[in-house]
Amino acid sequence: MFFTAWNSSELVKKATQKGKKRLLLTPTTFCLIHSTDFADRYERQILPLLRAGYIVLCDRYYYTAFARDITRGCKPEWVHNLYSFAVKPDITFWFRVPLETALGRILGGRQKLKFFEAGMDMRLADNERESFAKFQALIHQQYERMSKEYNFTVMDAAQPIETQQEKMRRIIAEQIDLPAFKLRPKGRKP
C-alpha cells in the first residue's frame, strides 16, 4: 500500500509556488504546471508502484485538475488529453457535501484565502470570500457532472466518519481481491 497527495514534487513545486506568489499564472499555465507536477509523481511513484503490484491510495487525482481547469476556461478535450497518460482509477470515491457545508467548513476555519485558491484570477467578485464561494459553486457543478460521466462512488460526507469508513472498507473489499495484496513475510517463498 502506498499513499500519495496532490502537489508534492520538489523541483516543480518551486516553480508552482513562484507562479502563484507572483501571480504569474493564467488558466493555461496553471493547468500545465500542475499537470507537470502530477506527471512527475505519476512517473516516479504511482506508475512504478502499480507495476510492482501495490495498491495506491491517492488523495485527489486528475479529476481535481479537470474540475479546476475546465472551470477556469480550458477546453475539456484538451485537459483530458493532457492527462491521458495516467491510468483510470479502479475506484474513485467522491466525498460529496452540500456546497454550503463545504464553504462553512473551509471559510470557518481560515483567516485568509490564497489568491488562486479563492479563484480571484477569474474575477468573479472583488473580495476573496465571495469569490471563493462562487468559484467553489462552479467547481461543485463540474464534480456533479463528472460523478456521472466517470462513475464515481459517491460518499455522503455529512455522515459520521466511522460510518463512512465502514462503507469504504466494504466497497474496497468487494471490488478488490485484498488477500492477493497481502505482504509476504520476509524470507519465505510465496
Binding site: V12, L24, L32, D40, G73, E77
Partner: protein, 235 residues
C-alpha cells in the same frame, strides 16, 4: 494570407483576429546558425521600421530556472519533461508572443513547438498526444527550417564549444555509448521527424550547409512575402 488561427483550442480568452503582428519561426538544430540568422534579420527588419520581439525555448519567467536544474540533474521523466517544456512555451506565448502580436510587432521565434514535439516524439511520446498538447499554439505566418548535415553540425558545435552536450547528443536515449556516434544518430532521427512534419506544418526548408550570407538572402526574400517590401523609415 489566410486568417490567424491556433492549431487547436488555443488560449482561453484570446481572439486570434486581434493579433495583427507577424509571427516568424526559425527552426534548426544547435550549430545550424539560427541565432546568427535571427540577429541579422532583426537588424534588417528594424532598419525597415518594424518593431521586433524575440522568443526562444527555455526563456520563460515562470519555469526557465527550474528547467535548467532539471537538465543538470537528469531527474525528470519523459512526460514530466514534455509538460515542463510546454509550460515554458505557454508562459512565453501568453506573456510575450501574444501581447507583442497584439501591438503589431514582428515576433521572431528562435525555435517553436516543432523542436519540442520532435524531442518528445523521439523519446517515445505518442505523436497524437503531443500534437494535442500544442493545440494551444498559434499558427505562424512562416516557418523556416534550417537543414544541416549532422556531420557539418558536429564541426560547428566543436568550433563553438569544443565539446558535445549530453542532451544535444541524445545521450539519455541510449542510442550509443560513444557520444559522437550518439550525436549523429540522434540528429538523424530528429531530421527524419522534421522531414515528416514539413508538409503538415508548411515548413520552408532552407539548405543550411551554405554560407550565412546566402542563407540570409533566401530568408529575407521569403520574409518579404510576409511583411511586405516597405521602404525603410525616413531618418
Amino acid at each position: 494570407m489566410s486568417a490567424r488561427r491556433f492549431y487547436g483550442p488555443g488560449i482561453p480568452g484570446v481572439n486570434p483576429a486581434d493579433l495583427r503582428g507577424k509571427l516568424i519561426v526559425i527552426e534548426g538544430p544547435d550549430g545550424s546558425g539560427r541565432s546568427t540568422q535571427i540577429d541579422m534579420l532583426t537588424d534588417w527588419l528594424e532598419a525597415r521600421g518594424h518593431a521586433i520581439a524575440q522568443m526562444g525555448l527555455r526563456r520563460s519567467t515562470l519555469v526557465s530556472g527550474e528547467l535548467e536544474s532539471a537538465k543538470a540533474g537528469n531527474i525528470l521523466s519523459k512526460t514530466t519533461m514534455s509538460l515542463f517544456y510546454a509550460t515554458d512555451f505557454a508562459d512565453q506565448l501568453e506573456n510575450r508572443i501574444i501581447p507583442a502580436l497584439k501591438a503589431g510587432f514582428i515576433v521572431l521565434a528562435d525555435r517553436y513547438i516543432y523542436t519540442l514535439m520532435a524531442r518528445d516524439i523521439v523519446r517515445g511520446a505518442d505523436p497524437a498526444w503531443v500534437e494535442d498538447l500544442y493545440g494551444i499554439a498559434l499558427v505562424p505566418d512562416a516557418v523556416f527550417s534550417l537543414r544541416v548535415r549532422p556531420e557539418n553540425l558536429v564541426e560547428r558545435v566543436f568550433q563553438k564549444s569544443q565539446q558535445l552536450d549530453h542532451w544535444e547528443s541524445g545521450m539519455d536515449l541510449g542510442l550509443d555509448l560513444d557520444m559522437f556516434k550518439s550525436f549523429i544518430k540522434y540528429k538523424r532521427r530528429l531530421q527524419r521527424l522534421f522531414d515528416g512534419m514539413r508538409k503538415r506544418y508548411d515548413f520552408h526548408v532552407v539548405n543550411g550547409n551554405r554560407s550565412a550570407r546566402a542563407i540570409q538572402k533566401e530568408l529575407r526574400r521569403e520574409i518579404e512575402k510576409v511583411v511586405g517590401t516597405a521602404e525603410p523609415v525616413a531618418s
